[in-house]
Symmetry: C2
Subunit: 232 residues, 2 copies
């Protein structure tokens, strides 16, 4: 057993990111208790060893209990740990990043979340601003070589919606041709169940969106996929 000394506090925080008004935004809530009572903060909470098999379980339980939302995409970001970050003592916050469509977050109710542009954050509790910066760097970096941005969209989306999502994450526009070639998207007609891309990741559904003139096919994504990197 650990020797008899002060024990670190272990908690889990979740950087919940979404796209709203064309910007990457963080979903924050106002803390109801000390420390930092009344401050904007990330959703988070203590590990409950009897309930949570893993730290990811803690993240999902905290989100469910405090906000009612369940993200489809959740990954561990890193641990923010030390003597100075929490006035209650040495603490380790196992930080996670979650991506959700804005609509799904709004269903939690208007009083649950406050949304802030990740590039214009207000003052936040603890080291939560630093956690958000690290999460945004991770998401922008991973978006450059993976299908990560799909998780900011509803379960079914058009390729144009997906292109806008990438553009909003990077804050720059891209031509349709460049976008499609970067993702390895094939051109031409597709059948339901067929993949739009060479890596078999974006799957065509039998549904369409838009008017009868030029309806756009809806796609879905099954799993996070990394594009092939340039090797030597």
């Amino acid at each position: 057993m650990p020797p008899n000394r002060p024990t670190p506090i272990v908690s889990v925080d979740v950087v919940l990111l979404t796209l709203a008004q064309g910007k990457l935004q963080a979903a924050l809530h106002r803390r109801g208790r000390q420390p930092f009572q009344g401050c904007l903060a990330l959703p988070g909470g203590y590990v409950h060893p009897e309930e949570d098999a893993t730290a990811e379980d803690t993240a999902r339980r905290v989100l469910r209990e405090k906000t009612g939302v369940q993200p489809r995409y959740l990954e561990q970001l890193g641990t923010f740990a030390g003597a100075a970050r929490d006035p209650r003592g040495w603490s380790a916050a196992i930080s996670h990043v979650a991506l959700m469509p804005h609509e799904a977050l709004r269903q939690a109710g208007d009083e649950v979340f406050h949304f802030y542009d990740v590039d214009q954050l207000p003052e936040l509790a603890f080291d939560h601003a630093e956690q958000i910066r690290a999460a945004v760097e991770r998401v922008r970096n991973k978006a450059s070589y993976s299908t990560l941005p799909c998780w900011l969209l509803p379960e079914r989306f058009t390729l144009t919606q997906l292109q806008r999502t990438y553009e909003q994450i990077f804050g720059e526009t891209v031509s349709r041709g460049t976008f499609r070639s970067r993702l390895g998207i094939k051109v031409g007609d597709m059948n339901p169940g067929e993949a739009a891309d060479q890596a078999d990741i974006l799957i065509a559904t039998d549904q369409f969106q838009g008017g009868s003139q030029r309806p756009a096919r809806l796609f879905r994504v099954n799993r996070l996929s990394l594009f092939k990197r340039a090797s030597w």
Copy 2:
């Protein structure tokens, strides 16, 4: 304060990687106490809240106390946490990855470390094999777009030594031209203090290695640098 419930155990583990016999190897030690007494394991230990300002401090203190080595390159890898990984209870191991030249590790003494090819690991304590797999994936991935491999070399090294280091990490050979173009290394004569690469990272020293026929200049690196990624 946290409610009165079992408190998670917080420790730090270090995946110490080096190159030996042309392979990426992990430096392991044999555990002197339960649990997993006598098993091969990563160096690690409990956080000491009175001594360690951060988790990285814990990592450096544990390495100093248990092995006597101090890595120049150390980064947090991720946290391996949950109810099942340690028989003593719910635990969070904040895992780090460190890179060191083999010579510097051997100075710790032959009895301190046992070296194993990361692709042929023996049975290890806890989830340490999983931590090593994650560390190797991180290092191979980051080596593909950064100067990370420099930290596996002594403080001064030739460009040919650096090329061999990249090759050993990836387990494949590469032509001198491809290697130099990937790193943006300029050709031609250099003066001491001048950078060998476009990003000003590999700095020429006034020292050379090898015979009087074609001595090779020694370089040093100041900081971790990421190569420019292909954007859109």
